[in-house]
């Protein structure tokens, strides 16, 4: 044990043994740190989470593509061109690297037709392979520069065109916009209904709460796909009815969340304290309870967005998407899927878009959740 023995008393000058604060009143010192508000604190945490910062920028880029992307090239989303159907992607610059250079593979061509300069103009054939004889006819697969083949050397379809010759870049940007609008509007509506409903149920509690929650339970017992499909069957397709279909059942998780938050906070001592001071119900809801639930609400909204995007694409796949010619990511994906084996690029671009979008929203939502998590706050 390292304890000093009695004969080991340190030698210290006498003047050090003066009382130094005998006459001072010892008070609580002011803090030296800057005051940090709730949102600032959350923002600091969020910034530390690199994945969600990246996700945030991805969302920004995609959103600006959705808004401005279709103005980058001369085509419109509904302009059809029978001469330019199913063009493979071709991007200036990138084409020199050998990707997205407008080449494609045509399978099962007669060898003689490939050699015919009327059908395959000079320089359009890049490589002939897989030569075989089928029922006495020489057949080959051929890699061609499709743009030369159809005489469109000067044109660039960044993501190619579809079966009607519509530019897919423009359609993808437009489709992303449509999907995002559907997602945002339905989520905002869901959150709004959820807050009002949940707040009433949670704040007043008792019988009101019981009946309101019973209603939720009943609605919630319908599977989402069933509700959405029936709704659209009945009201027809269209942006509004898709949004409505997503709202019908979509507000319930938010309502439950808000109710739980209200039940949790309404008996907190600070709420009781406000009541003993005579603060009214509305002020308690808006000043004391909602601000404390804002973190979970924002996180909830962020998590719901990818869900809505998913539901919209799902509907498109089932055949209940928007009416032509309006594209959405889901419609593009579903159309691309039909020609996957012949023109895979038509499915890849929307696949990539929806995946990146969903991952970005989920990552960002995760970051927000961690940033707002009250258990991390004020404990360190």
């Amino acid at each position: 044990m390292t304890m000093d023995t009695p004969n080991h008393i340190p030698d210290i000058p006498q003047e050090k043994f003066k009382f130094v604060q005998l006459d001072q009143e010892i008070v609580d010192s002011a803090f030296e740190t800057e005051p940090i508000g709730y949102f600032k604190d959350a923002l600091i945490r969020l910034r530390k989470n690199k994945a969600s910062v990246v996700a945030f920028y991805i969302i920004l880029v995609i959103s600006s593509l959705a808004i401005f992307g279709q103005d980058f090239n001369p085509y419109t989303f509904r302009q059809q061109n029978p001469e330019r159907t199913n063009m493979p992607p071709r991007v200036p610059g990138l084409e020199k690297l050998g990707i997205m250079d407008g080449t494609t593979i045509l399978r099962n061509r007669r060898l003689d037709s490939v050699k015919d300069p009327n059908q395959f103009p000079e320089g359009s054939v890049i490589r002939v392979f897989n030569q075989r004889t089928v029922r006495g006819v020489e057949m080959v697969d051929v890699k061609v520069d499709y743009y030369k083949l159809v005489g469109a050397e000067d044109e660039y379809y960044w993501l190619g065109t579809d079966y009607l010759g519509r530019d897919l870049w423009t359609r993808l940007c437009r489709g992303t916009r449509v999907s995002l609008i559907i997602a945002l509007v339905s989520v905002v509506t869901n959150i709004f209904i959820g807050i009002v409903y949940g707040a009433i149920a949670g704040y007043y509690g008792g019988k009101t709460d019981m009946y309101m929650m019973r209603v939720c339970e009943i609605i919630n017992a319908f599977p989402q796909i069933v509700v959405v499909t029936m709704f659209i069957l009945f009201f027809g397709t269209g942006m509004f009815s898709i949004i409505m279909a997503l709202v019908i059942r979509g507000w319930i998780p938010t309502a439950r969340l808000i109710r739980a938050q209200f039940l949790r906070f309404k008996n907190r001592e600070y709420v009781l304290a406000a009541r003993t001071l005579g603060v009214g119900d509305l002020a308690i809801i808006f000043r004391h309870i909602l601000p404390n639930s804002i973190g979970p609400i924002i996180t909830r909204a962020m998590i719901t967005i990818p869900g809505a995007i998913f539901s919209e694409s799902f509907l498109a796949f089932v055949g209940l998407g928007l009416k032509a010619p309006e594209p959405s990511i889901g419609i593009l994906l579903s159309q691309g899927q039909k020609v996957l084996l012949q023109h895979p690029y038509q499915a890849f671009a929307p696949s990539l878009m929806i995946s990146v979008l969903m991952i970005a929203f989920n990552l960002f939502a995760n970051g927000l959740r961690d940033a707002f998590d009250p258990t991390l706050r004020g404990q360190e």
Binding site: F222, F314, L363
Partner: protein, 303 residues
């Protein structure tokens, strides 16, 4: 439960009967046939009578006949032959997702904030985000078409292993999401339970870290898993609608897509009812199992 089913039936009735145009609208039918069919289904009567007629039929299992996909065949029979493959597909997906998810979740939680956790968490975000039909599309192109490892579409006629090989991709596509869901949920639960006081007590008894983790935290974390199995199962079902179509699997999901696109409303509604019943059934099952697993609910504790 019953109320829900009743409401679903009512909505189904409204969807079919109150929609503009005749449900029997088929260019191959003459007007007489359509009228005869309508009369048989009492569609010429006031809607309230139609409604009771419909309810009566529904309770007896008579949900009408298919109009376009399999003309004049009762929809019940159409669905019946499609059910096994769908259920098989969904159950298998669930069965493979649970252990993989549990394993991955456990590995992530036990190695919290270390490399395995980071890798698993990264995969989880991707698997949860990317829709099953995107996975299906990509796998179909790369693994089946390009690499040729699997058949491109499902082959019902193939025997033995070839059949199951053709089911591999759809099953995989359907499993990614649930695996990720289970992983994420279990990881969260485990981390919470691992840091609980009773884990400390278990360790102070003399159990090693792993014994304590397995006997206490792991067991307790698996209990609330029942909670996420309902939405997961219905989620897989939803995903299977599209995945079945992509892989041309003759299941209920594909049937619904077809019936929607051909406006075969009786069939659509019947398929939807099928989904509702399954989902209600899972809810019931989970409610019951919950009571069995958790002693606090079983014995009626008030804490």
């Amino acid at each position: 439960m019953c109320i829900t089913l009743f409401i679903i039936l009512t909505i189904a009735f409204m969807v079919v009967r109150l929609m503009p145009g005749s449900v029997y609208d088929n260019p191959e039918y003459s007007i007489e046939i359509i009228q005869a069919l309508e009369a048989k289904a009492q569609l010429d009567k006031p809607w309230i009578i139609q409604y009771f007629h419909f309810l009566k039929g529904a309770l007896r299992g008579d949900w009408g006949v298919s109009v376009k996909i399999a003309p004049c065949v009762p929809v019940f029979d159409v669905i019946k032959q499609r059910i096994p493959i769908t259920i098989l597909l969904n159950i298998i997906s669930l069965v493979i997702s649970l252990p993989i998810g549990i394993l991955a979740g456990t590995v992530a939680a036990m190695n919290r904030s270390r490399m395995p956790d980071h890798i698993i968490s990264f995969l989880v975000v991707n698997f949860i985000s990317v829709p099953s039909f995107v996975f299906a599309t990509l796998m179909q192109y790369f693994l089946a078409f390009k690499a040729g490892w699997f058949p491109i579409v499902y082959s019902a006629t193939a025997a033995g292993t070839a059949k199951y090989r053709s089911m591999m991709l759809p099953m995989l596509a359907l499993s990614f999401g649930p695996i990720a869901t289970v992983t994420r949920y279990l990881r969260g639960e485990l981390i919470e339970n691992l840091s609980s006081e009773y884990m400390l007590l278990a360790r102070t008894k003399g159990l090693t870290k792993y014994q304590a983790a397995f006997r206490h935290a792991f067991r307790n974390s698996c209990v609330p898993l029942a909670n996420i199995i309902i939405p997961m199962f219905t989620g897989i079902l939803g995903g299977s609608l599209v995945v079945e179509r992509i892989f041309a699997i003759p299941g209920v999901g594909g049937l619904m897509v077809e019936s929607v696109s051909t406006s075969d409303h009786f069939l659509t509604v019947a398929v939807l009812l099928f989904y509702s019943v399954i989902s209600l059934f899972t809810i019931l099952l989970v409610d019951i199992s919950y009571g069995i697993i958790d002693p606090r609910i079983r014995l009626g504790g008030n804490e």
